[in-house]
């Protein structure tokens, strides 16, 4: 379903703490693409995505979402973007339906549309029996699914997920992957960080490998194999080889 136009265009993105967390990063994700960003702990994946989602101000660089300058016109960029972190951002004292009503209100979605969408999303994620129970008694997986439904209720064109499968059981992970696959087939763009390389290998159209705040390799699995000169390697072997090379260079 890729259209070829850029859903996300990042140029020279930089963020420093005591050392560069993201170092003049260039990244382009095409519309309708499932893009997996992988890298070792502390590589700068989350920092990059938080800057893209407008949660963190970059020190330098530009972020463009569907042609909208996300740093200059942040509200317009956020209107078409959703962010899901590995720690579910939900309210213990709200029910899933109330939570989705709140999110839809924040994004200014018509109540009738939002309600139908909320029911569909929650039910398809297996939360149908829990629609009117407060989230305080929910497991980590259920909370993550509520957060994901909240991210999708405003029908975003760009969905950014930071380790969305952390803590999910096999059935829940399958629900989430199914829902994300459906979104990509419908033309939405998904950018996801993950440590589960099999997921990236199986689901992503393209994979970006990030290390020390820089993109060290990018492409389809086949392209990555070609770049590394080993046609039979798994993504895990490629990843370790790329990261080792980068660590040695550093």
């Amino acid at each position: 379903m890729m259209s070829g136009a850029a859903a996300l265009d990042v140029r020279g993105l930089t963020k420093r703490y005591d050392r560069p967390a993201v170092d003049a990063l260039d990244l382009t994700v095409r519309a309708g693409e499932f893009y997996a960003l992988v890298g070792p702990n502390g590589a700068g994946k989350t920092t990059t995505l938080r800057m893209v989602a407008g949660l963190l101000r970059p020190d330098a660089g530009s972020v463009s979402i569907f042609g909208i300058d996300a740093l200059g016109a942040s509200a317009a960029a956020k209107q078409v973007t959703a962010w899901v972190s590995d720690e579910p951002m939900i309210y213990d004292k709200l029910t899933p339906l109330e939570y989705l009503e709140f999110v839809a209100g924040l994004w200014g979605i018509a109540p009738s549309v939002a309600k139908a969408s909320a029911h569909h999303l929650l039910t398809s994620l297996g939360l149908g029996p829990h629609l009117d129970q407060r989230c305080e008694g929910f497991s980590k997986g259920m909370r993550q699914k509520v957060a994901l439904a909240g991210a999708l209720v405003h029908d975003p064109r760009l969905i950014i997920l930071d380790e969305p499968l952390t803590g999910l059981d096999a059935v829940s992970a399958r629900h989430v992957k199914g829902l994300l696959g459906e979104r990509v087939r419908n033309g939405d763009t998904v950018i996801m960080t993950t440590h589960i390389l099999e997921v990236a290998e199986r689901m992503a159209d393209r994979i970006g490998v990030i290390a020390a705040g820089r993109l060290v390799a990018e492409g389809t699995l086949t392209e990555l194999r070609q770049q590394n000169g080993r046609a039979d390697q798994s993504l895990e072997e490629l990843f370790i080889a790329l990261v080792d090379v980068e660590a040695a260079a550093a």
């Binding site: 962010w83 309210y91 339906l97 009503e101 999110v103 924040l106 009117d132 129970q133």
Partner: protein, 508 residues
């Protein structure tokens, strides 16, 4: 590991946890602050001797045998302190039950759970008693310094009060679990703690207002009616008072009785502790809330934010108990107000500082919950709203809530004393505005669950908020009585407010 070794090992573990939790409460979780926190506490404890001297210094010369009014006042004061300790103990016990932390680990270990949990109950009693001793020390110090070493026995009374309060708190909480279940116990326990803490003073004030038209609780305690109703001097009711002034024949039985009470509660309830705590931590809120058929509501993005805040505030057990307590404290002034419809009294002026102070304190708590206690900060930050729109919506929630709570009192005041109502309204607005602004300037991202630690995250903000509430309350009452002094007091409070802005990390 033998039984005795296991108990002593677990006791050390509990003490270490209690110490670190206490330290974290004082330092806001920053280890480097420990020395500063200790110095601050020592200075604060030294400072507390001044108000302690003002409050209790006049009792230092009391000697046995006490006359009936003195017995009544000392006994009532001890009972008041005990009620406050009990209130704190209920809060502590509830917190232990709902803190899952190590429960799975302990219950999966091959130890005798009844013994282990009896240590945990003893640890609760120890921490409650230690806190009581810490707060009582300045008062007892004043009595010892000015009245002699015989007052050291008052420490024994405090220990007895701490142990007995902890025992009763444990029993009350576990019985609440049995009676109303874990889902309601947390809220009920907090409300109960608030009512017990404030109830005795307020009951005395109400009796004083109804009988003498004054807010002073001493009016009722020193009345002839109270003396006539009091039992004779040999009664067991006076044992705490007699023990406090150095009568060891009553102190030793008191200490023994409180230890026996605690031992009995531990023997009865330690075996049930595991069940209760497991149920509390694992309870699933399975009861449906709201309705699936209800339509999603229309409105702007800011309205969605405000609605969410109102729902969360309405479902916050801490806030409900605190608001009830604030409202509870407003009962005596409201009663005074009601009485003054028929009989105008100068005491009515005391209503103003109570209302202004309550508004400031409540606004500070509300502002923390709405501004700092945002559990889904990333979600709100990733929404298509500017930060200023988010903050504005949250501030509106605080101010609307304060208006709803205090408007009825102000409306009643308008009917009796319009000028006083105007001054009080100004005081409420300024106090609520100050407390909200301070919370805004010192905001830090936190979970609502950490509300109890809000005062340790910035001590400066805590003191600024408290001093501003007190300052505006004093300014308002002085505006009604000594306008020139009100100007000075107002300027000092404004200076504190400005200084807190200057020192704040976010000057917006």
């Amino acid at each position: 590991m033998t039984s005795a070794t296991a108990i002593s090992w677990f006791a050390r573990h509990e003490l270490r946890l209690a110490w670190r939790e206490g330290l974290a409460m004082l330092t806001g979780g920053r280890r480097r602050r420990t020395r500063t926190a200790v110095i601050g506490i020592l200075l604060f404890a030294a400072f507390l001797h001044l108000p302690a001297w003002a409050v209790i210094g006049r009792f230092a010369e009391l000697r046995a045998p006490l006359d009936p009014p003195s017995l009544i006042i000392v006994t009532a004061s001890i009972f008041l302190a005990w009620a406050l300790i009990l209130s704190q103990a209920i809060e502590s016990v509830t917190r232990v039950f709902y803190a899952r932390a190590d429960l799975d680990l302990i219950m999966s270990s091959p130890t005798r759970l009844a013994e282990i949990f009896s240590v945990r109950l003893a640890a609760i009693a120890l921490s409650v008693t230690t806190m009581a001793l810490l707060f009582a020390t300045p008062f007892v110090d004043v009595l010892v310094i000015t009245g002699g070493a015989r007052w050291l026995a008052a420490f024994g009374v405090v220990i007895a009060a701490g142990l007995s309060a902890a025992a009763i708190a444990i029993a009350i909480t576990i019985m609440l679990f049995r009676l109303i279940g874990p889902a309601r116990t947390r809220l009920m326990a907090q409300i109960l703690a608030a009512i017990i803490g404030a109830g005795f003073v307020i009951a005395l004030q109400i009796a004083a207002i109804l009988s003498y038209g004054t807010l002073s609780r001493f009016a009722i305690l020193t009345s002839d009616a109270a003396t006539a109703l009091a039992p004779d001097a040999a009664s067991i009711l006076w044992w705490p008072a007699r023990a406090a002034i150095g009568d060891t024949t009553t102190l030793l039985p008191l200490l023994s009785a409180s230890l026996l009470l605690l031992g009995g509660v531990m023997a009865i309830f330690s075996a049930r502790f595991a069940d209760t705590a497991t149920t509390a931590s694992a309870y699933a809120v399975a009861r449906p809330r709201g309705s699936r058929t209800r339509a999603f509501r229309r409105g702007s993005r800011q309205q969605a934010l405000r609605r969410k805040e109102f729902i969360l505030l309405g479902r916050d057990p801490w806030l409900i108990s605190q608001t009830l307590m604030q409202l509870f404290y407003l009962v005596p002034p409201a009663l005074l107000l009601w009485r003054s419809f028929a009989d105008s009294t100068a005491a009515l002026v005391l209503v103003t500082p109570v209302i202004v102070m309550a508004a400031g304190q409540l606004a500070g708590g509300l502002a923390w919950l709405t501004i700092s206690g945002e559990d889904a900060a990333d979600l709100v930050a990733s929404a298509p709203l500017s930060p200023s729109q988010v903050i504005r919506a949250k501030i509106e929630v605080v101010l609307i809530t304060i208006s709803v709570i205090f408007a009825p009192l102000l409306a009643a005041l308008v009917l009796t004393e319009p000028w006083q109502a105007a001054i009080t309204a100004c005081g409420v607005i300024v106090a609520a505005g100050s407390a909200t602004s301070i919370q805004l300037w010192f905001r830090v991202q936190a979970s609502r669950r950490h509300f109890r630690r809000r005062q340790t995250s910035s001590r400066l903000a805590t003191f600024a908020e408290a001093f501003c509430s007190i300052g505006w309350a004093a300014t308002a009452v002085l505006a009604l009585t000594v306008p020139v002094a009100a100007v000075i007091c107002g300027l000092i409070t404004a200076a504190i407010f400005a200084a807190s802005w200057k020192l704040s990390p976010r000057r917006e």
